[in-house]
């Protein structure tokens, strides 16, 4: 690990100022950054520990939504009664991620900026445009079982690893960011960038931009998170589906669908949503919508199975939600 300076500011202004310095990195729970520093993938000159900032509250918003402080730990958010009652998809997604120990440390803000688990990103000796721009991508013809199939480019096929972000994307979450120029609000769907030719630029955040909160609008309909992985616990998603579904008289009145494990960012499945909205809530419609969403998939031999896996998982998740809706 490269030697680094450590500061722990006590107010947001000081944190933003410290974070804006060249080579500075914010430290939340450390569950991702510290690993990356050990491996030499991240080499900050200064680590700005933000865990002393007052950003650990979960508050009701007047419009019925929820405001989640950036430092709320994953375990606490998953256990929050309001989250469990109104946003079950979020609680389920959080609990499906990592392990109990990691969830006790990991923060909401940190999880939004979790970096890919592509093995070539982690291996300093191999080519990775995300880690070392212009060096190439060894995942293209390598072990790419975990890699993305939607929104990828010739320069990068790394998948975004977060479960929480997939649920938040389905819920239309908005991210509150404070930077050197003040505070602004970014819809989560616009926070992360697709790789294109610059896979090392992962978000629209500027140096010093500190995520302070995530806001959720009023909950609609019932929702669920289905995660498919290579073992029953403590594994990243091969495919995950965050879905919210409301049906009236057999027709879809509200649909939210987001995918994890298949794209470089939490993937809002707009095409599928458009096909489903207002239409019948039946198996054939679910399958058509899923197939349409996956139609643009760009696969490699090692991850081609994800097209069928994602399609089947979308169908199974929507069927389950529609059955629950009918039972009620």
């Amino acid at each position: 690990m490269k030697p680094f300076a450590y500061v722990k500011p006590v107010d947001i202004g000081a944190a933003v100022a410290a974070g804006a310095a060249p080579g500075a990195k914010f430290l939340g729970g450390g569950t991702n950054l510290v690993d990356l520093m050990r491996e030499g993938i991240e080499q900050p000159d200064t680590v700005v520990d933000v865990t002393g900032l007052p950003l650990s509250a979960v508050d009701d918003l007047p419009n019925g939504g929820l405001r989640i402080g950036a430092l709320v730990r994953n375990s606490d958010l998953a256990a929050d009664r309001r989250v469990r009652a109104r946003y079950p998809v979020l609680s389920q997604a959080l609990l499906s991620g990592a392990s109990g120990q990691l969830r006790n440390m990991a923060t909401v803000g940190g999880n939004l900026l979790q970096r890919t688990r592509c093995p070539y990103f982690y291996d300093e000796a191999s080519a990775c445009n995300k880690r070392d721009p212009g060096s190439g991508c060894d995942a293209l013809d390598g072990f790419n079982r975990s890699c993305a199939i939607l929104g990828v480019s010739d320069d990068c096929i790394a998948a975004h690893p977060s479960d929480m972000c997939v649920a938040l994307t389905a819920l239309d979450a908005v991210v509150e960011v404070t930077g050197t120029g003040g505070t602004r609000r970014i819809p989560l769907t616009e926070l992360h960038r697709l790789p294109g030719q610059t896979p090392h630029i992962e978000t629209d955040l500027a140096p010093g931009d500190l995520i302070t909160a995530v806001e959720l609008p009023t909950a609609t309909g019932n929702s669920a998170y289905r995660k498919v992985r290579d073992r029953a616990s403590y594994a990243f998603a091969l495919v995950s589906v965050a879905a919210g579904l409301q049906i009236e008289n057999g027709a879809v009145t509200d649909i939210r669908l987001a995918l994890g494990g298949v794209a470089p960012k939490p993937w809002r499945a707009r095409q599928a949503e458009q096909l489903l909205a207002g239409g019948p809530a039946d198996e054939a419609a679910f399958r058509r919508a899923a197939q349409a969403e996956l139609a643009s998939a760009a696969v490699r031999p090692g991850n081609a199975f994800k097209v069928a896996l994602a399609t089947n998982t979308i169908v199974a998740t929507l069927r389950e939600l529609s059955n629950e809706g009918t039972r009620r």
Binding site: R117, A232, V307, A308, N312, A316
Partner: protein, 698 residues
């Protein structure tokens, strides 16, 4: 002569259990030493080639760095045969990740950072890492244990196969697996004047002592190795690996300062061996009555160019079934890869996946229940050696397992049971492991007038319960209460012991202790039955077992599994595993159950999860951490039932034990694969069984 069980058979709690959960049991890296230094290794970034230049300037200049070790300043070691241990002797690189140097510093952080400052230029050569049938250089492995020949043949297999009315001819593959005990390989090495002292985590202190003594051309008395507790090993700590040598080379550079060295999890994937992948072809021929007429089992595997190791995958096959025409063949390709090594049930774990999958396929082809099919083909005498078995209870295990599992009435039709979207299936497989004794163990017993018996032997407890079980053996060997035994193990200061490995520990060490107990009784008799005031001490070596040439000695077992496979998504969940084993006398039912249960769980892991993905472009494992190298999590393990049948075998050794460390994993993967087939109708012949292999089309 057999000993009377009084302490043996009692479920005694581990003597070291309380100390371990309180953190008081000191593992190698935790041993208190004065003014330690820390070593971090420099590893090769190319698969093959030579080091053109190393620039250590920046690393040496880093504050806190005490020494930078490379082939240029390393002690010249002797030209021993094991190339894996001959590190830092030239500019050659034999595999990617090989140790080519290291930094010794005042803190581990400084050492690790300084290593990143060392600049190495290589002249890279093309590497050869492709395992495939048809390579021109496939060779027969040297025989490690001549009792089990690498190739066997009887009758005319090809003719029998050609004329058999029912045939199975399939190829099965197993994955590269890494051991990953929770405690990585750790060492504290100190060079003082003319001798080494090591605290390290090993399956055999004497093996480490012998290797270091040979490399550094020292008398064994000048190499002390201490290893009281080991946090798991699974074979990765059986042979000495290069980590011990690197620590020793570093210690030579900094006399009188203890050098602490712990491998990172990532380094565990290239430094300490692995279970090599196998490609196995099994051909079976049966007659109309479901009797095997021909059995051929061929396996190819990689080894390294530095040191030969063969996963003897076909070893169990000539023990299992009575087929008049048989052939086994074992071939190796020497590649530019790290050296593989033994891993829990080396040979049997891989080979019995293939054989017992093929037996399931053949039972189905014959229209027979897989248990009935195995019973029809059970061997009465050892098919290869022609000897009677000292005891063979495979059929009893299958029947008892069937009764407990609820096998009767099973509909063999695949793919027809469904519950809430999950397909349900059950499977069975046989297990076996030979009763191995390793030569070279000795034991000393001392007794004082207080009737306390000190038993000294340099044996190892790798977390399996040796401290406790061997004390129980000693108590019965001496005819005293276990509370009177004071066992000392894990130190070369004690009489020499064979390695912990091949489920041979209790057989080998226990036999030596029984022999010493006999001698002590003789001594006591000479003193009129009373312990003299200054006590008595005897030392004895493990005696020969005269029955070995008269009987074939093997443990057997039956593995059952019930799985659910998600009909749309392909996820596999093992709801139940049940094993029934015939392992001779069980010394300690509690620790034995844990071993068998652990083996079965590791078998589940082998079936569904474990795979070190090797990238041939870079000649390295890319899944180098426990986030990407999956082992079964708690949530993957369903109900696991472990049973054994009473088996009284007077021939194996004085205790009547057959060993329990390996057999729990044997056949477990096949039982699960067979259950997956029963659930889905899909036969997965390539481990691990991942969901993409069972996923229906969209």
């Amino acid at each position: 002569m057999t000993i009377t069980p009084r302490a043996m058979g009692v479920a005694v709690d581990r003597f070291d259990g309380a100390a371990k959960v309180r953190g008081e049991a000191r593992y190698a890296y935790e041993q208190p030493v004065d003014r330690p230094l820390y070593l971090y290794p420099l590893t090769a970034a190319v698969a093959t080639g030579r080091i053109a230049d190393i620039d250590c300037g920046a690393a040496s200049a880093e504050p806190g760095v005490v020494a930078v070790l490379t082939y240029r300043n390393a002690t010249r070691t002797a030209a021993i045969e094991d190339g894996e241990l001959r590190i830092l002797q030239s500019d050659e690189v034999a595999f990617r990740g090989q140790f080519i140097g290291g930094v010794v510093a005042e803190t581990s952080e400084i050492a690790r950072h300084a290593v990143s400052l060392v600049r190495v230029d290589y002249e890279e050569r093309p590497h050869d890492v492709e395992l495939r049938e048809g390579r021109g250089d496939l060779r027969v492995p040297r025989e490690v244990q001549p009792i089990f020949p690498m190739d066997t043949a009887e009758g005319d297999v090809d003719a029998a196969l050609a004329s058999a009315p029912v045939r199975v001819d399939q190829t099965y593959t197993t994955a590269w697996n890494n051991h990953n005990p929770i405690e990585p390989h750790t060492t504290i090495a100190t060079w003082t004047g003319d001798r080494f002292t090591f605290y390290l985590s090993t399956q055999g202190v004497n093996g480490i002592q012998a290797a270091v003594a040979a490399l550094f051309e020292l008398g064994p008395d000048r190499v002390r190795v201490i290893s009281p507790y080991v946090g798991g090993a699974f074979g990765s700590k059986a042979r000495p690996h290069a980590d011990v040598v690197l620590a020793a080379l570093a210690a030579r550079l900094v006399p009188d300062r203890p050098v602490k060295f712990a491998l990172t999890r990532q380094q565990m994937f290239s430094q300490v061996g692995y279970r090599p992948p196998t490609v196995q072809r099994v051909r079976l021929g049966a007659d109309a009555g479901g009797r095997l007429v021909a059995l051929a089992h061929e396996s190819i595997e990689p080894t390294s160019k530095l040191q030969e190791f063969a996963e003897h995958s076909t070893r169990a096959t000539p023990t299992m079934y009575a087929a008049p025409n048989r052939r086994t063949r074992q071939r190796l390709a020497a590649l530019d890869v790290p050296t593989p090594t033994i891993m829990r049930a080396p040979g049997e774990a891989s080979g019995m996946f293939a054989l017992e999958s093929a037996m399931d396929e053949m039972a189905i082809a014959c229209g027979l229940d897989p248990i009935e099919f195995r019973i029809r083909n059970d061997a009465q005498r050892h098919p290869h050696f022609g000897l009677p078995f000292s005891s063979r209870n495979l059929v009893a295990c299958l029947r008892e397992g069937a009764r407990r599992f609820g096998w009767d009435g099973r509909d063999p039709t695949p793919g027809i049971r469904r519950t809430a979207g999950w397909l349900v299936g059950t499977g069975v497989a046989a297990a076996t492991y030979p009763v191995l004794r390793l030569p070279g163990s000795m034991a000393t017993i001392r007794v004082g007038p207080d009737e306390r018996y000190t038993v000294l032997i340099a044996a190892a407890d790798i977390g399996t319960g040796t401290w406790t079980a061997l004390s129980q053996v000693a108590a019965d060997a001496l005819g005293v209460r276990v509370e009177q035994i004071d066992l000392r193990i894990g130190d070369t200061a004690y009489p020499k012991a064979s390695n912990e490995g091949g489920s041979s520990g209790i057989t080998s060490w226990g036999s030596a202790i029984c022999e010493a107990a006999d001698r002590l009784r003789d001594e006591l008799a000479r003193h009129g039955g009373a312990v003299p005031a200054d006590g008595l001490e005897v030392t004895a070596a493990m005696p020969e077992n005269p029955h070995i040439s008269r009987y074939a000695m093997h443990a057997f077992g039956a593995q059952f599994a019930e799985v659910r496979v998600h009909a749309e998504i392909g996820e596999v969940r093992v709801r139940r595993q049940l094993g029934v084993f015939a392992v001779g006398r069980v010394v300690n039912p509690k620790t034995a159950r844990s071993q068998l249960l652990g083996g079965m769980t590791m078998g589940l892991s082998m079936a569904l999860h474990e795979q070190s993905v090797f990238d041939p472009r870079f000649a390295q494992v890319v899944t180098q951490d426990l986030a990407t190298y999956h082992i079964a999590s708690n949530a993957d393990v369903g109900a696991v039932e472990v049973h054994w049948i009473d088996e009284d075998d007077p021939y194996v050794n004085p205790m009547g034990t057959k060993g329990v460390g390996e057999i729990g994993i044997v056949g477990a993967a096949a039982a699960i694969a067979n259950a997956v087939h029963h659930a889905t109708g899909v036969r997965v012949r390539d481990l691990p069984i991942t969901l993409d292999k069972l996923l229906p089309a969209a």
